[in-house]
């Protein structure tokens, strides 16, 4: 892209108008994100006060406590659950997004609306609905019993699998949407070019479609992974308290144990993962789109 250099006055005007456009968003982010994050960051280095809150004296106790095996295992468990969820979302979401992008244009809109339709009802209610589906008296077990696949109800609910299922159900659209967006604007003549140059269908997919949709897949993966790590409703409702995730831990530290510094450390760990993931995604996207103005 050619860079057009305006005059100084014009540049100043551009800067002023940019401030106006960005202003409301920046204000919102500052008030509701940057400042609270600052609190979290500072709490992590302070001592806890007996009934919640913090005492203003420096301490690294919360960090050392986070390294205790019981908490490390919660973290590991969380990352495992979130990773499996993300992987499943990718495996299921990729073909769905591909199929939607290949639909005639008028049906694409319908399909996208169907994908986001669950968001129109409350998340808590939808998660409760899974309890009804999965419990020993639920439709799933009754159905399987009726057709004779099983002779006694399966313990579907309150398992790690149930948590993964709940998270997958909740966040699958967040995988499908960015993938669909990137596939929809994919130049399909590139695939024809690959075919014309001697690539079979599978080879053309691996060489063209996959790398060009990889940045979107990574965005989708982050969109699924991050809230999965932080979610505490699904493990509580579908995991029955047996499966503890970092989200539950953070919530408990602030609201039950009243240990704000430790809660802050746990929250920062999650933020750290998020930053790392975005860095990787950014790197890959840049590698693929060098010089591409759309990047």
């Amino acid at each position: 892209m050619p860079v057009v250099h305006g005059s100084g006055a014009r540049r100043r005007r551009t800067r002023a108008s940019r401030a106006i456009y960005l202003g409301p968003g920046l204000l919102y982010i500052t008030l509701f994100m940057a400042i609270p994050m600052g609190f979290i960051l500072s709490y992590a280095f302070l001592e806890k006060a007996p009934y919640g809150g913090v005492r203003l004296s420096f301490s690294l106790d919360s960090f050392t406590r986070a390294l205790e095996p019981v908490y490390v295992s919660v973290l590991e468990n969380t990352l495992l659950i979130a990773s499996i969820t993300t992987l499943l979302a990718l495996v299921i979401g990729y073909p769905v997004a591909y199929a939607i992008a290949k639909l005639p244009p008028k049906w694409r809109t319908v399909a996208v609306i169907l994908v986001v339709l669950p968001f129109w009802s409350n998340f808590l209610i939808r998660t409760y609905a899974w309890i009804l589906l999965l419990n020993s008296e639920g439709i799933m077990n009754k159905g399987l019993l009726a057709v004779g696949v099983i002779d006694h109800p399966l313990a579907l609910l309150y398992t790690r699998e149930a948590v993964i299922l709940g998270l997958l159900y909740a966040y699958l659209p967040l995988m499908i949407l960015p993938l669909y967006a990137s596939m929809e604007r994919l130049d399909w003549s590139l695939l024809e070019a690959a075919r014309n140059l001697g690539a079979g269908r599978a080879r053309a997919f691996v060489d063209v479609t996959f790398p060009l949709t990889l940045p979107a897949a990574m965005i989708g993966a982050i969109f699924v992974f991050v809230p999965s790590v932080g979610n505490f409703i699904v493990p509580e409702l579908l995991g029955g308290g047996k499966t503890v995730m970092v989200g539950n831990l953070v919530r408990d530290q602030f609201l039950k144990a009243r240990d704000w510094p430790f809660g802050s450390v746990l929250a920062l760990t999650m933020v750290g993962f998020l930053v790392l993931l975005f860095a990787v995604q950014g790197y890959v996207a840049r590698r693929i789109n060098i010089g591409d103005s759309r990047a």
């Binding site: 590139l190 070019a193 690959a194 014309n196 001697g198 690539a199």
Partner: protein
């Protein structure tokens, strides 16, 4: 030129719902030929190109390359490469990777790939851009990458889809020469698809003019221009003056203008006919030898030549006359027009030549 057919297209038909994109198209493309498919958008030329590349399948008909059935081969196995109108360069690969892609799919040795890529990049003068990504190149450079990527495979047939349409005027002229030079150099059969008659005329050995899924005429550029076999071809290729009337001995009887003289091309007497005269064949003459007379509406100067628009009573459109240098007449002057009868072509009005016409007309 050798007359060995490389590609034989026979009765190819393709419909999309009610739309007939190709209506039993038959043509032959010779070895080492620069062939053009010319026609307005929607004439079926792009569909034909996609059939050749394997991205469309005809409803019926056959396409043979040499003595092999082309339609039986999947797109990646055809000895045909296509330069896409949009170039379709892989944005995530460097120039050299783009060019090497086809050779890698063939399973060529690494050394061979490197040598052939370097050589072809030199041919299109892009050696210094080998490591750039397509988005870092200008339009003309991207086009040359697309060309290099297609010819590096040394296909038996190279298809070029509107190869010059995205380029500005000056780069176009350069590329036009470049393509012609390359075609001689690499000895590949070129098939250009274009809606631009100048592009087709200046580059191609032979042109197939298409309209509504039919081949109207197949001929050399000179023949196409001088001896159009249908009114559509006459109108589409070059500018022309057309006079509608009834076919009579020696020409066409145009209501209000009398008999205008032209070369009869196999027409029935009394049938509706149209007489076509190129602007450069119309002369300003004295009253005695004139076919037509009228008032000069306007004159336009184009440097080397001028055009004069003459309003002839009884004629719906002004008659255009081209003359060398500046026009010798002025606006409002009364002028007389004539042409040599052998320069005017008499065609049946609004017909379509179903069979196509492969060099059947007498040569000039």
């Amino acid at each position: 030129m050798t007359m060995k057919p490389l590609l034989t297209i026979t009765d190819v038909r393709r419909t999309f719902g009610d739309v007939i994109a190709l209506d039993s198209v038959s043509l032959e493309i010779h070895e080492n030929e620069f062939f053009a498919l010319l026609g307005p958008s929607g004439c079926g030329k792009t569909t034909l190109l996609r059939v050749l590349a394997g991205f469309e399948h005809p409803d019926s008909g056959t396409v043979m390359i040499g003595d092999q059935d082309l339609l039986a081969m999947p797109p990646n196995k055809r000895p045909i490469n296509l330069m896409f109108q949009s170039y379709a360069l892989f944005p995530h690969m460097s120039v050299e990777k783009n060019v090497a892609y086809g050779l890698e799919r063939e399973g060529c040795a690494k050394d061979e790939i490197r040598d052939r890529v370097a050589q072809v990049l030199q041919t299109v003068s892009l050696s210094d851009k080998a490591r750039k990504r397509p988005a870092q190149l200008s339009g003309g450079q991207r086009q040359r990458v697309a060309l290099a990527r297609a010819i590096v495979k040394r296909p038996r047939l190279l298809l070029l889809d509107e190869p010059l349409s995205a380029l500005d005027r000056k780069v176009r002229a350069e590329m036009q020469l470049e393509l012609k030079r390359l075609q001689h150099e690499v000895g590949i059969t070129f098939v250009v698809v274009t809606h631009d008659q100048e592009e087709a005329m200046s580059m191609a050995d032979r042109i197939a003019v298409m309209s509504n899924g039919l081949v109207e005429q197949i001929a050399s550029p000179v023949e196409l221009y001088a001896r159009p076999s249908t009114a559509f071809v006459a109108d589409f290729v070059g500018s022309s003056n057309a006079f509608q009337g009834l076919r009579v001995t020696g020409g066409v009887d145009v209501p209000g203008l009398g008999v205008l003289h032209g070369q009869p091309v196999g027409e029935q007497m009394g049938a509706l006919a149209v007489l076509i005269v190129r602007p450069e064949d119309v002369r300003l003459v004295s009253e005695g030898e004139a076919f037509l007379g009228g008032l000069v509406l306007d004159t336009q100067f184009y440097g080397g030549r001028s055009t004069v628009a003459v309003q002839v009573p009884g004629c719906p459109a002004p008659v255009i006359v081209t003359c060398q240098g500046t026009a010798s007449v002025e606006r409002g002057a009364h002028v007389h027009l004539a042409w040599a009868p052998d320069k005017a072509v008499v065609l049946s009005a609004a017909t379509q030549n179903k069979d196509g016409n492969d060099g059947q007309e007498p040569a000039l």
